[in-house]
Amino acid sequence: MNRVAFVYHPDYLLHESPFDHPESPARLTAITEHLQATGLMEKMVPLTPAYTENGDIFRVHAPEYLQRLESACRRGDLTLDAGDTYLCRNSYAIAFLSAAGAMAGAEAVFTGKVRRAFCALRPPGHHSDRNTGMGFCLLNNIAIAARYLQARHGVSRILIVDWDVHHGNGTQSIFLEDPSVFFFSIHEHPSFLYPGTGRRWETGKGAGEGATLNAPMSPGAGDDEYRHAFEQMLRPAVDRFRPEIILVSAGFDGHKDDPLADIQLTGEGFRYMTRFVVEMADRHCGGRVVSLLEGGYELKSLTSSVEIHIRELLGT
């Protein structure tokens, strides 16, 4: 059995919506309770992140955006701009803590304290770009972790696999021109689903041309179509890129029971994708995988899928 860190902080529950909202603290409560009930929690190494400094966040986000976010929270704004990305007074601090969790997971894995990590974070991050949050996301946790690994440990080839059902537009835009971070996103086709980007010809820009890969899936696609895309698109790309670590934007909202999208993945689909990533990591980078929770809103399928995901990370 592999050493797997479970990154979590009880304060993650303090980012709360002022109105009924699918991205709720109940998601994390359900996950932790389920992992305890199934005995998986005690098989993992608990890791509690500490609040972080601005410097780690500045590597990804513009200072003007952080100021805007901070004052919006302090003022008691209910949402960021007019969108559906809600705020409460705690949100600014908890967004930092969420990013800190991503960095703590990356640190523990890269330095060999654990072989892999699952970071049960919220708010999620993959829609946030340098200048704004959107789509329930405030700070781009996975980008902050990637930049941390580059700055602190000089990691030169990072693979990000984003299987949240929504395109990881923020992560894509942050690394669009960066050949050292390979970004793969598989998601429901942008003609049908938020955010409306991630078409197959979006493949990076400038020096980063070829280091972005998008697999838009038709509504109704499921385990077979995802397996096909992983084999045909991701496998050759990863073998060429030879990552030193793999980060995963693990959204579970592609599950057939999730109400936000039209993709029909089952638990077996998440088992396959996790196994694939683990196998790739074993082959190229000593098994180093850091998985970050993104979406997943239907609690029953969320918890069962996370369970499958963690079992595969543990290798039990």
Binding site: H166, P195, G196, P259
Partner: protein, 219 residues
């Protein structure tokens, strides 16, 4: 919207007595596929496409033993007016973009010179310009979710849905509608600036409307 808002204003034109060789170089240099042909007073007298040029030089290219030099000579010695199309399908500066869409479609041309009241070339609009307008109207690439709702084809159906969406404080980034998927109905296509479409869909359904499954989208 008027065609002048979307047309290209810097039009590369050619004189009727210019040679096909000059015309071909102009097209290559400016990366265009056709040139409006204008007389001394700037009036439109014809249009020359890259296909016209190709077809003019084709007989020589097919002759056995013909050299590239001979083909080039032919282009140098043939004036534009000899092969240009004289009956040009044009748009006028008062036309709307809708007019040009219909013209481009019905006359099966790739672009339309846009002429003013004196018959002078004021611009040119191509299929590409029209497609760009469609990309904008469809909201492709804007951060948003898409919905398609079926409403009764009578006044007020759209308004009712707009009111529901407004109730969620959600911005609408694009609205399109198309004829009946079934008798007496219309499909309305929305792009809304939210990821959280579940409550929105629920409220629209509760108001008695049908939301289409993505696989049966009309647009």
């Amino acid at each position: 919207m008027f065609v002048v808002r979307r047309m290209q204003r810097n039009v590369v034109t050619v004189a009727p007595d210019a040679s096909l060789y000059e015309a071909r170089e102009l097209m290559r240099g400016h990366n265009v596929h056709q040139l409006p042909v204008t007389g001394g007073n700037g009036k439109l007298v014809g249009i020359l496409s890259n296909r016209d040029v190709r077809e003019a030089s084709l007989p020589v290219a097919l002759l056995s033993g013909a050299t590239e030099k001979e083909a080039e000579d032919l282009l140098r010695n043939t004036p534009v007016e000899k092969v240009m199309t004289r009956k040009v399908v044009t748009a006028t500066v008062d036309d709307t973009l809708e007019d040009t869409v219909v013209l481009l479609h019905d006359f099966r041309v790739n672009s339309l010179p846009v002429v003013d009241g004196q018959g002078r070339v004021a611009g040119i609009i191509s299929r590409t310009d029209v497609l760009k307008a469609f990309i904008d109207v469809l909201g492709v690439g804007e951060v948003s979710s898409r919905l398609e709702v079926v409403v009764p084809d009578r006044p007020g159906g759209l308004a009712q849905i707009m009111t529901i969406i407004k109730g969620f404080n959600v911005n609408i980034t694009s609205v399109l509608t198309t004829g009946a998927p079934e008798e007496g109905k219309r499909a309305i296509f929305f792009r809304v600036a939210t990821q959280n479409v579940v409550p929105l869909k629920q409220a629209i359904r509760e108001a008695g409307f049908r939301i289409l499954d993505p696989s049966s989208f009309h647009l």
